[in-house]
Symmetry: C2
Subunit: 413 residues, 2 copies
């Protein structure tokens, strides 16, 4: 039986009919619709000679035994955000199903091949993303905090996951699943505009960005807009404006892949008749290189202090969240590049802005790589999310080629 | 009987005790507390040979007849904002009372002298400032709209003013009061930092600023902060930031007295993970010179369009409100300057950012001038509003001198 990329597209449409509505995909983790999708997936692989298991964190595993117990993993997530797109997560899983079919049809593979459907990548219901993969990676450390989480209807996280036989007390037992893992592959839509702007269907992901996220608050003095001369003002908004423009220069100096975003400013008192007293800025900085990320942060801090001094205002930084960059495996990146070039003619290497389950697996020490397929207009987390079918089919072919190359490499030891 | 500036300070404190509380002055127009203040004022002038009247707009008049019917007016307002200061408005009225006492003690003046306590300068309860003075000036034109206004408790404006025998249908009959007016004087706290920064107690006001008030909306494209490269962004906040910095240069180029303020920015979606799609900016521009004000506006518009083009975003301007500059009388400005120099040694001429009843009187064609007395820290509309007592006393003296000079000028024809 040959690989059928068009079947993957057809199955994704079938899943969309089954679990979506006029507002988009509704496969939010730990819900009935998600359960429907998981059962549907289970049926899709029922004709294959695979062992079906569910681990302690709710991750679904489909294991095709090979000559060696060392395992090549292919992963994805069938859960979506509410009113989500048809491809984010599900493409990865269904392309994995198709590759598993092709490998199984070719007879016993040299190494064990396992498809994993990670539980709750999106964190849409309880605000905790990468649930299943972080449990399997052993990096989940916020169980105590998660016990108190409730959804918008007041249902607690422990209650919701118990319906799927998952318990925070034992979720980390999922770590056992990665013991035999020798490589991990994940395909995903890009969720950004880079491949589309380059006119390329496919790219190879170098890793996921490190992120530094801060609230930067400038404090000046409210003063009457009519009676306060320009040179007597202590305008907090001036600090925010100068930082907004400076972070673009900071990103430029930090080289390719660097991004800095001021995602919002809240001004107080925020009325037309007063100079702004406080300006609270949300700052997000990302880089694949930890040293350069640290440099970007310290450059932004230094700039903000200089602006504050020059404007006679104060500035205060408060970290909201941060994560180190996670680099993918160099050898697998080379194989992925080969696979993409064979299928699409040319390839492009790019970092991933969003996090993915692959980042958790890589942090756990498993050699990892991801493929990106072009997103139209860079849109995701909306029903408008889309990718040309031709590109979807190329992505299934590329994952298949990559799986073959990775199996050979794992088998070679 | 000699002028007693210290009595004015004592009476202001008496009024504060009578009509204020721990949060500040509570003499909001059309309330019981305001009524208490008006009756108290009435008593204060009861020993003077003045005619007491109330016009069709609720303004209180105290008329000291002179040899000529041509009248010198001295004005102020005893109403305050809620939790207001002890001086804003009341200083003008009580200094006027003291000047009236001194003139009356000197015998029949050469011209008629009238003290007016304008009704509802602040507009605190119904959002309509300069109520009484705009009726007397004949510029009130929003009676139909005012009929629908209600306060926070649902009481309508017509209902509230009816308790003071004022009716929107007849309020403009107050115009008759200005028929004989030959000059108008008003003393006020500066409500800004200029005199304090110059170390001067008193200043002469050149007029009230023209104001151009706009909402400027920049529209770009929301995009993922992690997956959208810097050169692919259409960041609405960049337009807002550049305009915020540019309006300072525009004000600088427009010369002394020009002010431009971005009082607030609202960013949407306003989250840390997204480039800003829309930035709504509140822009306030003021100048004493109508031509320069128009130039400042057109410079800001042109700059915003240039920024929009360079940032690949859109920009839209919507006027919120505007008013022409109102210039005070040149001859009275000279007299006021003399009076201030005689009392305080040196004077300073400055525009007024806030509007005042004097602006309405000037618009009606009555030669007008204002005196400013220093405000500590520029604060007003708060219980923290204050002025050194020594400066308050100097301000009463300066108003007295100015009244004498103005009477002589009016008498001379």
């Amino acid at each position: 039986m040959a690989l059928s990329p068009s079947r993957t597209v057809a199955e994704l449409k079938e899943l969309r009919e089954l679990t979506g509505d006029s507002e988009g995909a509704q496969r939010v983790a730990w819900t009935e619709t998600w359960s429907t999708a998981r059962k549907w997936l289970d049926k899709k692989v029922s004709e294959l000679p695979v062992e079906k298991t569910c681990d302690a964190a709710g991750n679904q595993w489909f294991t095709l035994p090979g000559d060696s117990e060392r395992a090549l993993l292919i992963g994805g997530h069938i859960d979506s955000v509410p009113n989500g797109g048809w491809l984010d997560g599900a493409l990865n899983v269904m392309a994995g199903v198709e590759v598993l079919r092709r490998i199984a049809a070719d007879g016993t593979p040299p190494v064990t091949v396992r498809l994993v459907n990670w539980a709750d990548e999106e964190g849409a219901r309880f605000g905790r993303s990468l649930f299943g993969s972080s449990a399997a990676a052993g990096s989940m450390a916020d169980q105590d905090e998660l016990r108190g989480r409730r959804d918008a209807d007041g249902v607690s996280l422990p209650e919701a996951i118990a319906r799927f036989d998952v318990d925070l007390a034992t979720a980390l037992e999922a770590k056992a699943e990665l013991a035999s893992a020798a490589a991990y592959l994940e395909l995903h839509i890009e969720q950004g505009p880079v491949l589309e702007s380059l006119g390329l269907p496919l790219g190879v992901v170098l890793g996921t960005f490190g992120v530094e996220r801060h609230q930067v608050t400038f404090r000046g003095q409210a003063a009457h807009a009519g009676s306060t001369p320009m040179d007597k003002r202590r305008d907090a908004l001036a600090g925010a404006a100068r930082l907004e423009l400076e972070i673009r220069e900071i990103a430029k100096r930090a080289g390719e892949g660097a991004v800095c975003t001021m995602g919002g400013v809240v001004t107080r008192p925020g009325i037309v008749t007063s100079v702004v007293e406080t300006a609270e800025c949300l700052l997000d900085q990302r880089h694949l290189d930890a040293t350069k990320l640290a440099e970007m942060l310290s450059n932004a801090e230094a700039a903000s202090r200089r602006f504050a001094e020059e404007e006679s205002i104060d500035v205060e930084w408060e970290r909201i969240w941060n994560i180190e960059p996670i680099l993918f495996d160099e050898a697998l990146i080379e194989l992925a590049d080969e696979a993409v070039r064979e299928v699409a003619g040319s390839s492009h290497r790019l970092p991933s802005g969003p996090l993915h389950d692959a980042a958790e697996v890589a942090r756990a020490g498993v050699p990892t790589v991801m493929l990106f397929v072009q997103s139209l207009r860079g849109l995701s987390h909306t029903k408008l999310e889309d990718t040309e079918e031709e590109h979807l089919e190329l992505s299934v072919q590329a994952l298949d080629r990559l799986a073959d190359k990775a199996m050979a490499q794992v088998a070679a030891g």
